[in-house]
């Protein structure tokens, strides 16, 4: 039949034997698809638009050229890739823009067509959209969401449950009114099921896209925390549903006639609940359990991350520096302190907040151990808030401790602080080489003087005992001011317990 047409490119579409021949006449044909030289020739056989044409002379040429362009636009301009959802340009799943890229349309055209289709098909296009989301892999991937969802038995059950729940609702709604709700509603049973599967099995970035879709709905509920917004949204939704439902009931049936169909409705509802209720409940419970498990896993991951950041890192450092015992001890102690303050005092590492004597002593311990690598053993008895005089006391104590760390050569320094009703004592002691107080080198004497001077300026007292080979002990005493004689009056819980120096051991405090 082809051969009979004048001017037709003979052999171009020999068709019968499928063998490709060079067209004999030029500039024909418009179907050479020169823009797609990679395509095997056989693929060109489907150019169906061109079969039916007036097929004569210039007219035919014009016609063919017109339809050729059209056809090229329809079938030829795609990117040649297989159908994939487009992750870059998407409103929901990227199905529309994927289709558009595949067939060479503008994504918005496809979207509008889909939206119109959704109305025309009384909602059936929507589940098909979601089905596409499930079945079409995203670009750069081979696996579809459906292939993952297949193994998600809990998700399948949930999808069935939600679908059946909506189905039951629609069935009941249909008992009263089979208008738009039921017509447009039934397809959405499938939409809901597909959407559930997508939600549970899509990768995180696609989930974020879904959440973005829901966002306007949420923000519509008003500002404030997400929880409050959710509650308000729910209340508004419930109010709207109740009002419309009641309005229908009353307008359709009015008066006592309302009761007759209502009882039947209730029976049906009860029947449905009896039938599906336990199953729905079980699925809901499974869902809760699953969420709890996920929360536990997250908590565990959080702890694991922290242990990794602190303990494991330190252990690694210790292994690397095994030949340097001092460094190892220092690392271990720093880590112990950090872990202890995290576990027992709920403080994040590096959180410095000095507001009391015991806190201040701990801070001295931390700093000296970190800077000088000498372990500091601290014992504190009682506690009280700091004032400027006690700050001076802590300053002097710090200087004495640093001094001991630098000069004594002792393996450990002990700092003892005791808050008494009328004074605060701090003793800094080392078992190091000590010195003869009568023959001190200038620099050390200077330090001793600065400690003494600082204390006396604030009405306190400092004594330094030392002898060569005997170690050194610096004793600091600062009287407490009248104003601050009530220990921890400001702190809840212990302020009411009367006498001063309420026991508050700071070391290793737990709660």
């Amino acid at each position: 039949m082809l051969q009979g047409k004048p001017g037709w490119p003979r052999g171009r579409f020999t068709g019968d034997d499928g063998e490709m021949q060079e067209p004999s006449e030029q500039p024909w044909p418009p179907f050479r698809f020169q823009d797609r030289p990679d395509q095997p020739a056989g693929a060109h056989r489907h150019g169906p638009h061109s079969w039916h044409g007036p097929g004569h002379g210039d007219d035919a040429q014009e016609w063919a050229s017109h339809w050729g362009n059209r056809a090229r636009r329809w079938w030829g301009r795609g990117d040649g890739e297989p159908l994939r959802r487009n992750p870059e340009d998407r409103l929901a799943g990227g199905v529309a823009s994927g289709l558009a890229a595949w067939r060479g349309f503008s994504p918005n055209t496809v979207r509008i067509v889909l939206a119109v289709l959704a109305f025309v098909s009384s909602g059936w296009a929507v589940p098909f959209y979601f089905l596409g989301w499930l079945l079409i892999p995203v670009r750069g991937e081979e696996n579809t969401i459906a292939s993952k969802a297949r193994h998600d038995s809990a998700g399948v059950a949930l999808a069935l449950a939600l679908g059946s729940l909506l189905g039951a609702f629609l069935f009941l709604a249909g008992a009263f009114n089979d208008g738009a709700i039921t017509v447009y509603g039934w397809p959405q049973v499938f939409s809901l099921a597909f959407l559930t599967l997508i939600w549970r099995n899509a990768p995180d970035d696609e989930r974020a896209g879904l959440r973005r879709l829901v966002q306007p709905l949420e923000s519509f509920g008003g500002s404030g925390s997400a929880a409050r917004r959710g509650t308000r949204l729910r209340l508004i939704g419930a109010a709207v549903l109740l009002a419309t439902g009641l309005g229908w009931l009353l307008s359709l049936h009015g008066g006592t006639r309302l009761l007759a169909p209502l009882s039947g409705f209730l029976l049906v509802a009860a029947g449905i609940v009896l039938l599906f209720g336990p199953w729905w409940l079980r699925i809901a419970r499974d869902l809760v359990i699953e969420r709890q498990a996920r929360a536990r896993a997250e908590e565990r991951a959080d702890i694991a991350a922290r242990v990794h950041d602190s303990v494991l890192q330190t252990l690694a450092l210790i292994q690397r520096r095994a030949e340097d015992p001092q460094a190892v001890v220092q690392l271990a102690r720093a880590q112990e302190r950090e872990l202890r303050s995290w576990l027992f005092e709920g403080r994040a590492p590096g959180d410095a907040n000095v507001s009391s004597v015991a806190e201040g002593v701990r801070q001295i311990q931390r700093d000296v151990e970190a800077l000088h690598g000498v372990p500091v053993e601290i014992v504190t008895v009682g506690d009280c808030p700091l004032d400027e005089h006690l700050n001076a006391l802590l300053g002097a104590a710090r200087e004495a401790t640093v001094n001991a760390a630098k000069w004594s050569g002792a393996a450990v320094i002990s700092v003892f602080a005791e808050v008494e009703p009328d004074k605060v004592n701090v003793a800094v002691r080392d078992r190091g080489k000590g010195f003869d107080p009568d023959m001190v080198p200038g620099d050390r004497k200077g330090v001793a003087e600065s400690i003494r001077g600082r204390m006396s300026r604030h009405g306190g007292d400092a004594t330094v005992q030392s002898a060569p080979g005997e170690g050194t002990k610096v004793t600091l005493t600062m009287p407490r001011q009248r104003g601050s004689s009530q220990p921890w009056s400001a702190e809840p819980g212990t302020g009411d317990s009367g006498p001063a120096a309420q026991p508050r051991p700071a070391e290793g405090k737990r709660r």
Binding site: L343, E377, S414, P499
Partner: protein
């Protein structure tokens, strides 16, 4: 303080109770030459059973144990074997836990960071009936006994002396808290080593027997009775 004769043959026999296996084996290896480790347990119930069978001189007891904590072991064992002595040790040192173990009857408390010779010393001393206070325990005790005498509305203890530390006891505790050894304390205070030990034992007795209001409240605030 009456039983040194019981273990005339040198090394004290020790049972280790600690839920940390690595720590147990470490202690066992290090203590080797100075004490005889005759058994290990990692939980309250097995520990009580094992101690009942082996009747060691000293039980080295972790403050934190699964199944009730160290004080549960002491309370159980003391029912049948009041002579067995306990030395508490722990890595964590929440005061309430430590005081609970001491009030249950432990003769001392040391931290796990203690050096091996010191630990061996402490065990020997406990085996001989003395009390062993680490610097931390001394701090806790000073804390618990700090402050003024109990107010009038509180029924005093059977023996009012139990409710208060003497000045000397306080001095001794302060020096322990600063890391002084008993020998150093003796020299510092110009008293004999035996006197230091008797002060410490007396503090331990008060700690265990006192029904002092302040101590009770101190304990209650930290959720122990």
């Amino acid at each position: 303080m009456s039983t040194p004769a019981v273990r005339a043959a040198g090394r004290p026999r020790v049972v280790l109770v600690d839920d940390h296996g690595i720590f147990r084996s470490g202690v066992r290896a290090e203590l080797g030459p100075r004490v005889e480790v005759i058994g290990e347990a990692e939980d309250v119930a097995p520990a009580v059973e094992l101690i009942g069978q082996l009747l060691p001189d000293v039980v080295l007891l972790d403050v934190h144990l699964p199944g009730g904590g160290g004080h549960a072991v002491i309370t159980e064992v003391k029912k049948d074997h009041p002579d067995i002595k306990f030395l508490a040790l722990s890595a964590s040192d929440a005061p309430e836990d430590v005081i609970a173990v001491i009030r249950a009857g432990a003769r001392g408390y040391v931290t796990k960071t203690i050096s091996t010779p010191d630990l061996a010393d402490a065990i020997t001393r406990v085996a001989d009936g003395d009390a062993v206070f680490s610097h931390r325990l001394a701090g806790f005790v000073l804390d618990a006994f700090a402050a003024a005498p109990a107010p009038d509305d509180v029924k005093p203890s059977f023996d009012p002396e139990l409710d208060q530390l003497t000045t000397r006891e306080r001095e001794v505790l302060r020096l322990i808290a600063q890391g002084y050894t008993y020998k150093e304390i003796a020299r510092e205070l110009f008293i004999s080593g035996k006197t230091v030990e008797s002060h410490v034992s007396s503090v331990l007795r008060k700690l265990q027997l006192s029904s002092r209001h302040q101590l009770t409240r101190w304990a209650a605030e930290r959720r122990l009775t």
